[in-house]
Subunit: 237 residues, 2 copies
Amino acid sequence: MKTSTPSSSIEDYVKVIYSFTEWQDKPITSTRLAQRLGVANSSVSEMVRKLKDQGLVDHKPYSAITLTGDGVRLAVSMVRRHRLIETFLVQELGYRWDEVHDEAELLEHAVSDTFIERMAAKLGNPLRDPHGDPIPAADGSVQVPAAHRMNELDAGHTGRITRISDENPELLRYLAAEEIDLDAEVEVLGRRPFGGPLVVRIGSGGTPREFDLAEEVASALWVHSEDAHAGCSVTGP
Amino acid sequence: MKTSTPSSSIEDYVKVIYSFTEWQDKPITSTRLAQRLGVANSSVSEMVRKLKDQGLVDHKPYSAITLTGDGVRLAVSMVRRHRLIETFLVQELGYRWDEVHDEAELLEHAVSDTFIERMAAKLGNPLRDPHGDPIPAADGSVQVPAAHRMNELDAGHTGRITRISDENPELLRYLAAEEIDLDAEVEVLGRRPFGGPLVVRIGSGGTPREFDLAEEVASALWVHSEDAHAGCSVTGP
DNA sequence: CTTATTGTTTCGGTATGCCTAAAAATTATC
DNA sequence: GATAATTTTTAGGCATACCGAAACAATAAG
């Protein structure tokens, strides 16, 4: 059991492993991890061995990689850092949605816990970041909103956008330009023939407007159905 | 001529070389540089060779180290970063004087130019940091206040504290506890016999109070004499 | 069931930046 | 001006984290 401060590489590996299973539960493989991190497969093999030595992941050769309890704790603290920094950049320094990610990526490894907690206090301990992703609390508990991807909803469903996936910056810019924002009310109207685009009505602020959303766009928008049981699952520390 | 982004080590070396000559003009030697950076002499020799290769310093073996034009430019931009971050931490996140240095030390290497400039704008492009050190402008020009160390002043001199050296955190805490702040009016009354402590009257806010200041304290306080020619030298870009 | 194909790991090698110990140059002392 | 003391540089090593190429498993295809 190593107690040394993890390097920023280790923090990145653990965060990516965690993030991969956050909105779906396939465990991550070496190759995917390498893709996400932008490194060679061989680098991942090496690093995973190190993570295992430090008790952060479980891994048998040639099979998937999963986090241990310590691994999850470290990952959650990195996610908290990342999302608080993003929120701060948007709310206090006027960054746009699509600008925050890279800056947060660098800052999350550099700042102290003191910095994070003062920032959180200044922001009023927010529970969601600018994309609607849940911000884990300082004790490690996470409020996961009970939401579904918009492209998986049937016609007639109504609800609010509770999360916008930040994986594709270009998509974020499109949504910003169309003024499709977090918490907008949505109604799924149906689908164009032959599995075509999803037709939805979105009322963000003013009068509702209709959109034909490509699959990629619809799957990036997560909707909290108000008619469904309105709950939040909480993962304890 | 290398155009690659300097590593954070290189940024540190250049910043320390610059800082050493900021309030005095002895050029820095390998040993001193090693002391300031907390590394072995041999590490300095190696690194200085690299800095020379990149055109950031001039150095002949066994003699002092000086910055080139490029070196000064890089150093000034690092000093700008450092001091803006310190100011931000104090004004926006409620850090105390003696807490900011280490945090700024880490952040200055991590954040983007965008971050720095947004922060500067939010702070109203300040010209001094919380200790009174001048913050270089984005174009590299520096406003150096015409001040002297308090221990070098003769009895009868009056003025304001324009800078408090931040080299000794314990000293900063002492000054904070005694409420000796930046911009306080001071009058040098004299010296205790046999080169004893300096006796000064300091009026920060309320009624002036008298202090016996040890040499180390007095030399950390820089005074801008109001009776002397009140000017600021500006170093261009 | 045997051979491709794909995925994963191991094996040298590279770059950074630090170290200690030994060698070389400079400066100080006699 | 020769020797002693100090400063500085060189030489050989260590840790991190990456790479490409080759070896090795596991799965898919015939």
